[in-house]
């Protein structure tokens, strides 16, 4: 039962307030028309779906209606950090391996 820090409300809120919104940092291609069906299909459907550290988007549905990013472990469910859209994570697979 996740307890998620919302960077815009500045406090932890219980999972019930949020919607999961999929893998983070998948930018929409600049010129979709120029992409092959394969490249477009990759963008649409294919995901990293890692076992372990996952950067994902959450939507604070009943709170501030803001999307933001969360770095969460998909096995332990431990949340390493929440950070706003556009920001880069301070916890990455590399930094984790380094640690």
């Amino acid at each position: 039962m996740l307890n998620i820090y919302c960077p815009h409300c500045g406090e932890h809120r219980s999972e019930e307030e949020f919607h999961y919104a999929g893998e983070a940092h998948i930018p929409r291609p600049e010129n979709p028309a120029e992409l092959s069906d394969e490249a477009w299909g990759d963008y649409l459907f294919f995901r990293r779906n890692p076992r372990g550290l996952h950067h994902e988007q959450w939507y604070h549905a009943t709170g501030c209606r803001r999307f933001f990013n969360v770095a969460r472990d998909t096995v332990t469910y431990e949340i390493h950090e929440s950070y706003p859209m556009g920001a880069r994570p301070s916890v990455s697979r590399d930094s984790e391996e380094a640690a």
């Binding site: 409300c9 500045g10 406090e11 809120r13 219980s14 549905a61 009943t62 501030c64 209606r65």
Partner: protein, 203 residues
């Protein structure tokens, strides 16, 4: 063109006929009052824009607060609730229903500030009584303890299976603001949640 009667307004809980239930006894652990016909305006804009801040301050006597989950009091009973980083719910007494919107709009001319009238869009339920905390604990996953939810704080959170903004108006009372179409559900919910403590209606 037939003769028109003046428009008759009905509050979100009109059908519950609260006035008829009110007044009887106020001994209930939970005391509910529907704040009817308040003026509600949604204000949108970048919270660091000087023009917008100045405009709002000119119109309401207070600039939009920038602290998350905070609210400030303005002139003549107005209140600005920060509900998202670029969104405030401006709350005014019913007397300002006609002009709050226009005052703000003109004050925001030439600024990125935008306003939307939502006076009819929400039900405002004022809750108090010694069972207030317990009823809220049954209704929302948010931590309503005074240490975490002091007077002036406003949060958007879950209420029953719906959504609400909760404003701690003072130590003993909370204003619960839900979308109008959820008013009846929230009313049913509160009756059930307060049953063991007793529910009184204040007019």
């Amino acid at each position: 063109m037939t003769q028109l009667t003046l428009p008759r307004a009905e509050s979100p809980l009109h059908h519950a006929d609260l006035p008829a239930l009110a007044g009887q006894d106020q001994k209930g652990g939970l005391i509910l009052r529907e704040e009817r016909f308040s003026a509600l305006v949604i204000l949108r804009g970048p919270d660091d824009d000087p023009g917008m801040r100045a405009g709002v301050e000119g119109a309401l006597g207070a600039a939009p607060p920038t602290e998350p989950c905070s609210s400030v009091l303005g002139d003549d009973g107005t209140r600005l609730l920060r509900i998202t980083p670029d969104e405030w719910l401006v709350f005014g007494p019913g007397t300002q229903r006609q002009d709050l919107m226009s005052r703000l709009r003109s004050a925001l001319q030439g600024t990125p500030g935008r306003v939307v009238d939502v006076s009819s869009g929400y039900a405002c339920l004022h809750l108090s009584g010694e069972a207030l905390a317990d009823v809220l604990k049954k209704s929302t996953s948010y931590d309503v303890h005074m240490r975490n939810f002091p007077p002036g704080k406003v949060v958007g959170t879950t209420f029953g299976k719906g959504q609400a903004y909760m404003l701690r108006t003072d130590a003993d009372s909370v204003l619960v603001i839900v979308r109008r179409s959820f008013a009846d559900y929230t009313w049913l919910w509160l009756q059930a949640a307060a049953e063991e403590y007793g529910l009184s209606i204040a007019g």
